[in-house]
């Protein structure tokens, strides 16, 4: 993956306007690339399509602003925060702004992907420029009407004011503005003048959510639609040999039973009937490859760590030399299991495949990629495929993969009916694209009390670490530094899981530094800060984090958490990490209740640049921290004979409200461009808790989930 820098385009190239037949101006904009020469927004609001534009702003002749945004909402709040940025520069009152989910009917959209906590980071400049451009056009129209120079006019809350104090509402000049050229140069607000950005705004869908209004993919239905429940191979490595659907077909309400590949779809008039139909299927499976077990993975990953089949991702200096010259070498191994995503809304998708069209509706983080994959699967022109995104009941990476949409398309084609594929929780947990099982071996060489070498070895199922991560802390801070990876190709499907790749790496590294500080008998905070001093002023452009910003969150965390001054019976653990362009430090407060460690509080310091919507941002932070604590404590997922051993919440434990710490959030205030928040507070949480448990119980944890390994007294590393 490359470090993608948002491109800058001239305003004219990515903004177009039209006068709406019903009154008002419609501004279409294309955030991440120039518009096609012929692209123009429609004059009829019912004809909105997102082929040429990412989103539209409508300013009605009563001054009301509607932002049509198709950016997928998975719970990370961008449906609220992205329009806030436009409204800020447009200079309208947030109360006069409506946000409408733009129904997608397209196959040509860019960056309509929710993943990697990047929506706000990439959208920041273009969204501001769009708002500011629209504002300037309205000013220009008013100035022309008054016969004054536009530079003499200013705006306030949707009203243009000239030097004489005359005023015109935005709505009064929309018609004229629509006929004007898009200005090339506009001035953006000084962040200190922000009135909407930085103020709390509620989730724009809140009323629908708390009244149970249809919003999610699973809620979607249309006339004539059937429900499909799919029997998939019960284990990775098994294939369908034969099946008997006699009993299924005898159930009233079952319409059809269709085999596709190694799967069998039961199509019925409602979900429950389809589920019953699936249960009644009798299938014979055969193994087409070795069936994998968690114990096998354990051994395979250990062998990989101890072997030589590594690919080097980054190497500075000479770790071998440093280790040979060391006074002391510290080596520890860390382990984590596979993890399923477990979005609360199980996977589902609607498809209607007809002779000339393929209509897809549902919760998906990657509509563009899914449309092209469906086109390829059905051997259709991608122009025939449309994807409409619904609100998503969680994503966490799972909805980056469109496997469920492909299933829906294939079933609809075979059944010649509109169908919605619905996964049960068991289907969702067994047909996963899991966070891979991983082991890390970290070694450090110490000479004269200094860390002179650092060697991280990763062994993971399928693949894990990618390009940029070896350039995160402590890269640049230790002279001799090497990151090596080795992978085992498994039949089990794996992929991105919230804060991919760093969700466990951060635990390993931040636990390791904590232990090194203990062994070297130096202050744990000082150890980290001293390392960061060495990165300051670096000329290494590969280094991703800012040592100054990381240092700052660490210092603020010390202050805000009362580090070193905890009340009697409260044990603290420290962790700091950079990922997803955001710098975070966390302190976990643990107490012992009946000798069992209980995480009471996590103090979380976040430097994500300008905070667009503090109310939404804090929600992301609290969720990320608790998710990190929860999975580190309880997340346990294993395979036996290629089959998941955990298939529902009776055997797979997710953190619950009575187990959650209170998260206290503090932002670093600065004027830097905002970065994402959906992920970066999760990775540091595990180490903060493990380091606090070490302080409380004297047990150093090397394996997740902690609940399973906490009781062991034996050294595990």
């Amino acid at each position: 993956m490359k470090n993608i820098v948002p491109p800058s385009f001239s305003r004219r190239s990515f903004i177009r306007t039209s006068a709406l037949a019903s009154g008002g101006i419609l501004i279409g904009f294309n955030l991440f690339q120039a518009c096609k020469p012929e692209a123009a927004p429609p004059v009829d609001i019912s004809q909105l399509n997102f082929n040429d534009f990412n989103a539209f702003i409508k300013i009605a002749d009563n001054g009301m602003v509607t932002i049509f945004s198709p950016n997928p909402e998975i719970g990370q709040g961008v449906k609220t925060s992205m329009p806030m940025i436009i409204a800020e520069e447009l200079d309208v009152a947030w109360d006069n702004v409506l946000v409408a989910q733009g129904a997608l009917d397209t196959n040509n959209f860019t960056r309509q992907v929710a993943g990697g906590s990047q929506s706000i980071r990439f959208g920041w400049e273009p969204l501001r420029q769009t708002g500011a451009t629209a504002r300037q056009m309205l000013i220009n129209a008013a100035a022309a009407k008054w016969g004054v120079d536009a530079s003499e006019c200013k705006t306030k809350n949707g009203v243009i004011i000239n030097a004489n104090g005359d005023t015109l509402g935005y709505g009064e000049v929309v018609k004229e503005a629509a006929a004007l050229e898009v200005p090339e140069n506009v001035t953006l607000k000084d962040p200190k003048d922000f009135k909407i950005i930085g103020k709390d705004a509620s989730n724009v869908d809140i009323d629908k959510i708390i009244t149970g209004t249809s919003l999610f993919g699973l809620d979607y239905k249309e006339e004539g639609m059937m429900y499909a429940v799919v029997l998939r191979p019960p284990a990775f490595g098994k294939k369908l040999e034969d099946f008997d659907a006699t009993e299924t077909k005898a159930i009233t309400g079952v319409h059809d039973v269709i085999k596709f590949g190694d799967k069998v779809a039961v199509i019925a008039k409602d979900t429950w009937t389809a589920m019953k139909g699936k249960k009644a299927l009798k299938a014979k499976w055969v193994s087409d490859s070795k069936l994998e077990n968690t114990e096998d993975h354990d051994k395979i990953l250990t062998d990989l760590l101890n072997g030589t089949a590594f690919k080097t991702m980054r190497a500075d200096g000479d770790v071998k030399k440093a280790f040979a010259a060391a006074d002391k070498v510290i080596e520890r191994t860390y382990e984590s299991p596979f993890l399923p995503h477990n979005c609360m809304e199980p996977m589902n998708f609607f498809a209607d495949v007809t002779a000339d069209k393929v209509r897809l509706v549902g919760p998906i983080q990657t509509p563009e990629r899914t449309a092209s994959r469906v086109a390829e699967l059905l051997e259709r022109d991608v122009k025939q495929v449309s994807v409409e995104m619904t609100r998503m009941g969680g994503g966490f990476g799972r909805r980056l993969y469109g496997d469920f949409a492909l299933e829906a398309a294939e079933i609809s084609k075979l059944a010649q009916k509109p169908v919605k594929v619905v996964y049960s929780r068991e289907d969702d947990m067994s047909a996963g694209i899991y966070r891979p099982a991983i082991k890390y071996k970290i070694s450090a060489s110490v000479k004269d009390g200094e860390i002179t070498g650092y060697h991280l070895k990763e062994a993971s199922v399928n693949s894990n670490m990618y390009g940029l991560i070896p350039n995160f802390f402590p890269a640049g801070a230790i002279e001799n530094y090497q990151v090596d990876v080795a992978n085992y190709d498994s039949k089990i499907t794996t992929g991105a899981w919230r804060a991919p790749y760093t969700n466990f790496l951060s635990f390993a590294e931040q636990s390791f530094f904590d232990e090194i500080a203990e062994i070297l008998e130096v202050d744990r905070i000082k150890l980290r800060l001293d390392l960061l001093q060495k990165v300051k002023g670096t000329t290494d452009e590969r280094i991703q984090y800012s040592p100054e910003r990381l240092e700052n969150v660490i210092k603020v965390a010390v202050e805000k958490s009362g580090w070193g001054n905890a009340k009697e019976g409260v044990y603290q653990g420290f962790s700091a990490y950079y990922c997803h362009n955001t710098h975070v430090a966390e302190v976990a407060d643990v107490v012992l209740e009946n000798d069992i460690p209980v995480v009471k509080k996590v103090t979380c310091i976040v430097d994500c640049g300008i905070v667009v919507n503090p109310l939404g941002a804090k929600n992301q932070i609290e969720g990320g921290v608790i998710d990190g604590v929860g999975h580190a404590m309880y997340g346990d997922f294993s395979f036996k004979d290629g089959m998941p051993e955990n298939k529902n919440f009776d055997t797979y434990r997710l953190i619950r409200i009575n187990e959650t710490p209170i998260v206290e959030t503090h932002f670093i205030e600065n004027d830097l461009s905002p970065t994402g928040l959906g992920e970066p507070t999760l990775p540091p949480a595990g180490a903060a808790v493990a380091n606090a448990i070490k302080a409380a119980k004297g047990i150093r944890l090397y394996k997740q989930p902690f609940i399973k390994h906490m009781k062991s007294k034996a050294p595990l590393g």
């Binding site: 719970g75 809140i206 149970g212 429950w272 009941g393 969680g394 929780r425 969720g623």
Partner: protein
């Protein structure tokens, strides 16, 4: 196929369904009331919580044949105008992230506060522990239940 008469949110509905059909799927697929959510199907996550004669109940485990003469309340019937103190509190605290589990959370909270109008923090945590929020909006759920209790007293 048998026909069942159900009383949901004060209205009577006749539903033709197999006797083993869970109320959850009757609501969602037969009556187009999709506010009640499917999460696990085994009563572990609480997303499908409704009130049966005022008590919080998992609708995924309740067969349609067992609810004759019972009063069912779903998220759609909590209030006509978002005026219920629990909904108000949810809004003020801005609880949801993805929002999927929140109908179930609200149904658990409303039933709980009817029984205990002045709960302690630990009582709130215990009462709400049957509802999973995968986004972990738990801190806000806790605050919103506290706020709703204060609005109701």
């Amino acid at each position: 196929m048998p026909v069942y008469n159900l009383k949901i949110n004060g209205k009577s509905h006749d539903v033709e369904a197999d006797q083993d059909t869970p109320l959850l799927w009757v609501l969602r697929d037969h009556l187009d009331m999709v506010g009640t959510k499917f999460g696990c199907g085994i009563g572990q996550c609480g997303a499908c919580t409704v009130h049966v004669d005022g008590s919080a109940t998992r609708s995924c485990l309740l067969q349609v044949s067992m609810i004759k003469d019972m009063e069912i309340t779903t998220i759609e019937g909590v209030s006509d105008d978002i005026s219920h103190p629990v909904q108000q509190a949810w809004k003020e605290i801005d609880v949801p992230q993805c929002g999927y589990c929140q109908a179930g959370q609200i149904m658990s909270a409303t039933a709980f506060l009817k029984q205990n109008s002045n709960p302690s923090k630990s009582e709130i945590r215990d009462a709400m522990s049957g509802n999973i929020c995968r986004c972990a909006s738990y801190n806000r759920i806790e605050k919103a239940v506290e706020l709703a209790a204060s609005k109701m007293s």
